[in-house]
């Protein structure tokens, strides 16, 4: 296995008296698709929050490309090359698809001053727009640049969700249930998209759709009740007795 892009080192998180994460440790290797699975309430989304910087862990470290990011805010982590999608679609509903993606492209221009231009109107920044069009075309949303994001079908919104994260050109993509609420056809398209992306970018995938997980993942980590049960190749995980008992048994 190549070197680790992301190391999660003993991360704990409590809410009041409830322990959501208990000393979770695993690492994501550069280039792999690493899936994170577990039953509802296992702490998957909480972990994504800790990694992306939406929340701070009570203990433990998040190391990315060899740098400890634990104390850094989300936007800095994004600038370091880590992008996420949300479980519940989180796009700019009242903006057009093009404007959505333009924002993402602009956010990538790493200098903190990228948005601090007070004078020049934005409508004529052609380079930005061209790149944004390219991203939309890549996921099959080309030609719908002027549509409002809020009026897209659910599956298309999920795609837009991924494109937004992608347009920041991350090294690591955190995908939080990209197939949540999608129909079989849309799921299929999403699996294809993720498969295509996996060639350029490391992916940490949280997903309930076991079919998709076993098709896409190089390795799988399993969370149960805030604890890491195991990390391994799909077949190892499938065979792990505790996983079968706690998770697959329940899902079946």
């Amino acid at each position: 296995m190549s070197e680790s892009l992301l190391v999660i080192d003993g991360v704990s998180r409590h809410f009041g008296g409830v322990t959501a994460l208990a000393e979770v440790s695993f690492s994501v290797a550069a280039g792999e698709v690493h899936a994170l699975i577990g039953p509802n309430g296992a702490g998957k989304t909480t972990l994504i929050h800790q990694i992306s910087g939406a929340q701070r862990p009570d203990a433990g470290r998040i190391v990315f490309s060899g740098e400890d990011l634990t104390a850094l805010p989300m936007h800095t982590r994004v600038q370091r090359g880590m992008a996420r999608s949300w479980q519940i679609t989180n796009v700019f509903n009242r903006l057009t698809l093009l404007d959505n993606v333009v924002l993402a492209v602009k956010g990538r221009q790493r200098d903190w001053g990228s948005g601090f231009r007070f004078w020049q109107p934005v409508d004529d920044e052609q380079a930005l727009i061209d790149e944004a069009r390219g991203w939309l075309a890549e996921v099959g949303l080309g030609g719908r640049e002027r549509t409002l994001a809020g009026s897209l079908a659910h599956g298309e919104q999920r795609q837009l969700e991924v494109v937004l994260a992608l347009a920041t050109k991350p090294k690591l993509l955190l995908l939080d249930e990209p197939m949540a609420g999608t129909g079989p056809e849309e799921s299929e398209r999403m699996v294809a998209l993720i498969g295509k992306l996996a060639r350029h970018v490391t992916i940490l995938l949280v997903e309930h759709d076991m079919d998709a997980v076993f098709r896409l993942a190089d390795r799988i980590s399993v969370l149960v009740g805030g604890r890491l049960v195991c990390t391994g190749l799909p077949d190892e995980v499938r065979a792990h007795p505790e996983v079968r008992r706690a998770y697959l048994g329940e899902a079946a």
Binding site: M74, H75, L103, W112, F118, V122, A165, T168
Partner: protein
């Protein structure tokens, strides 16, 4: 397409220029009718239009419901008054100082307040303004409850601000300048980013934007303009009154913004004009004008929920064919 936008913005600028030319002609017109008193009144309206506009930038574009904007308004006024007390009467020193004080304050207040959200943000900005208010009324050197009187109006180079029309023109120029700046800012990248943050803050954070920094800067820009308005209002009444800092002042400013139209560039100005004129006119007809004003405001809430600017815009839009 681009040319259409161009034409539209040209039309908008022409309209704005027209309105400002008409406003500039107001003092001689009032003088012709022997209504000099109203020049001073009109200047007051312009000052409130400025401070309401600055608040609208924070509320409407920054998405921050600040309930303590009076702090910056009052701070500007007190800065000018205190400096004059110290013998510094030149507007070229004291007005920039007023803006600087407001900016400094806004940095501090914004830094702490922006940690909180929603109602907590509303209340913590209010708390800071109240701190300033109580500080002002308990500082004997600042005149306590009575506020600090200005011996005269600020010196303004060759212009005599004691001359009411001149003062009016200076206020009008300040308002025009600030509106122009805000117009540019909101149409530039910074404004677009702000708009997107208002729409979806967590996503903007997730796209790598330092959201807090943007919001703080927006808060500070609003405060700076409020500080300038404060410098003007202190000169207008030749008094820096603690009432400028009180929560009812913040509330009134917020009402002006909502009435005029949250997030419409001219919303704050429209709200200030409508509210102050309504006050003046209603007071003329009934001593119970507060009740009448209250009913009108309720009507705005339920009939023109996006404010008068949007409502008027809607009327025009209905007149035209396209959306």
């Amino acid at each position: 397409m681009n040319s259409a936008i161009y034409r539209q913005s040209t039309r908008r600028r022409l309209l704005a220029a027209g309105v400002f030319t008409l406003l500039a002609l107001l003092p001689p017109a009032l003088q012709a009718f022997g209504q000099e008193f109203y020049i001073s009144f009109a200047a007051r309206v312009l000052i409130f239009a400025l401070v309401a506009t600055s608040l609208n930038f924070v509320v409407g574009f920054g998405g921050m419901v600040a309930f303590g904007h009076a702090a910056f308004f009052g701070a500007g006024a007190y800065t000018v008054a205190v400096l004059m007390e110290m013998g510094i009467a030149s507007a070229f020193v004291s007005w920039p100082a007023a803006i600087a004080v407001a900016v400094l304050l806004a940095h501090g207040i914004g830094f702490v307040s922006l940690r909180t959200r929603g109602v907590y943000f509303i209340m913590i900005t209010l708390a800071f303004a109240q701190m300033l208010y109580y500080l002002a009324i308990s500082m004997k050197t600042w005149g306590g409850d009575d506020g600090l009187s200005l011996a005269t109006r600020s010196g303004f180079g060759p212009l005599d601000l004691k001359h009411d029309p001149t003062f009016y023109w200076v206020a009008l120029a300040s308002l025009g300048l600030c509106l122009y700046l805000l117009d540019r800012i909101t149409h530039a990248r910074f404004g677009r980013v702000l708009q997107a943050i208002r729409e979806n803050e967590s996503r903007m954070e997730g796209l790598g934007y330092p959201v807090l920094g943007y919001k703080l800067l927006c808060f500070v820009i609003g405060a700076a303009m409020a500080g300038l308005a404060g410098a003007l209002i202190a000169n207008h009444g030749q008094l820096a009154s603690p009432n400028l800092l009180q929560w009812t002042q913040s509330g009134t400013l917020l009402v002006m913004v909502i009435v005029g139209g949250v997030g419409a560039l001219y919303g704050g100005a429209v709200g200030a004009v409508v509210l102050l004129l309504a006050e003046e006119v209603l007071a003329h007809y009934t001593t119970h004008w507060h009740a009448a004003l209250g009913l009108i405001l309720l009507l705005v809430v339920f009939r023109a929920p996006k404010g008068i600017a949007a409502w008027v815009h809607g009327l025009f839009a209905r007149g035209e064919k396209h959306e």
